[in-house]
């Protein structure tokens, strides 16, 4: 039974890959970019929670590390963009 949950996650990852490639093939422009990046975020969340066992992680520190990394990157990228877009 417990094997099954990993198989389900893997199947979900493959289905999401199929959806993302189909979206790209449709060439719907800017909305397509958002969909494709959102799907990448969902896929990596699945890997983090289930394959990397963050879902059952008991230590708060470890649960917070990834959000901290994402927040750091968001600040880097956000600040850089406010610079380039206002030049």
């Amino acid at each position: 039974m417990t094997y099954a949950r990993y198989i389900y996650v893997w199947a979900a990852l493959l289905v999401l890959t199929a959806i993302t490639v189909t979206t790209a093939e449709l060439n719907i422009g800017r909305a397509g970019i958002i969909v494709v990046l959102a799907i990448a975020a969902v896929k990596s969340t699945l890997v983090l929670l289930w394959f990397m066992h963050l879902r059952s992680e008991s230590r708060l520190l470890l649960k917070l590390l990834v959000p901290i990394a994402i927040a750091t990157l968001a600040i880097f990228i956000g600040l850089t963009y406010t610079d380039i877009l206002t030049r």
């Binding site: 990852l13 494709v36 990228i77 877009l85």
Partner: protein, 201 residues
């Protein structure tokens, strides 16, 4: 004060996650460079991305996702089921998928070299500035990622030997767990590289 085995396991996991955090920041910096140049040269990035084989990229995505499944099943087989032989088989499969990923990547790179689309190539020199930047980033980022795949395969091979030699067991599986975490991170980086280079155009 004596450390208990449980504490030891937690510390090794914290150390591994801190290392993974630094890896995320390395690739994050490269993603930032990519995003900046893409904002500056949208048309060139579009034209250059059409040169990549979407089929190869999708195939490699499926291969790497499947290798993540076999990696997690190896850990599960050892930790929960105490079946080292199954764990060894799943590890061997994971290494095999890693190798398959590199083979597809090698064919892709070979095709780019044939078309003269590599850094400092005469043909690429005639292209617009944004396309030169695109292929520079393509080789840097997929190359650094492929290096991580190779390192991951070496680490998993050591784990395979340890499982077979009973150095990694149900009670002593922290190293295998950390090796799995590394492999999954390499998978996550590819999850982002794939849309950025192959899908967005």
């Amino acid at each position: 004060m004596e450390l208990e085995a449980r504490d030891h396991k937690v510390f090794s996991r914290v150390g591994m996650w801190l290392f993974l955090l630094s890896e995320i920041l390395i690739f994050g910096g490269l993603f930032l460079v990519y995003a900046m140049y893409r904002a500056k040269h949208p048309a060139d990035f579009h034209a250059a991305s059409l040169e990549l084989s979407r089929f190869d990229g999708t195939l490699n995505t499926a291969i790497l996702l499947t290798s993540s499944l076999t990696a997690v099943l190896a850990i599960f087989s050892l930790q929960e089921l105490n079946k080292p032989k199954h764990a060894a088989l799943y590890l061997a499969a994971t290494i095999g998928f890693g190798f398959a990923f590199l083979v597809v990547k090698a064919f892709e790179w070979a095709a780019k070299f044939q078309h003269g689309l590599y850094p400092r190539a005469a043909e690429l020199g005639t292209r617009p500035h944004g396309e030169i930047l695109y292929f520079g980033l393509y080789f840097t980022m997929t190359g650094l990622h492929a290096l991580h795949v190779i390192i991951g395969m070496v680490v998993l091979s050591v784990m395979l030997v340890w499982v077979l030699g009973k150095k990694a067991t149900q009670k002593n599986s922290a190293a295998l767990e950390n090796a799995g975490l590394y492999w999954h991170l390499v998978d996550i980086i590819w999850i982002f590289l794939f849309p950025l280079f192959y899908l967005i155009s």
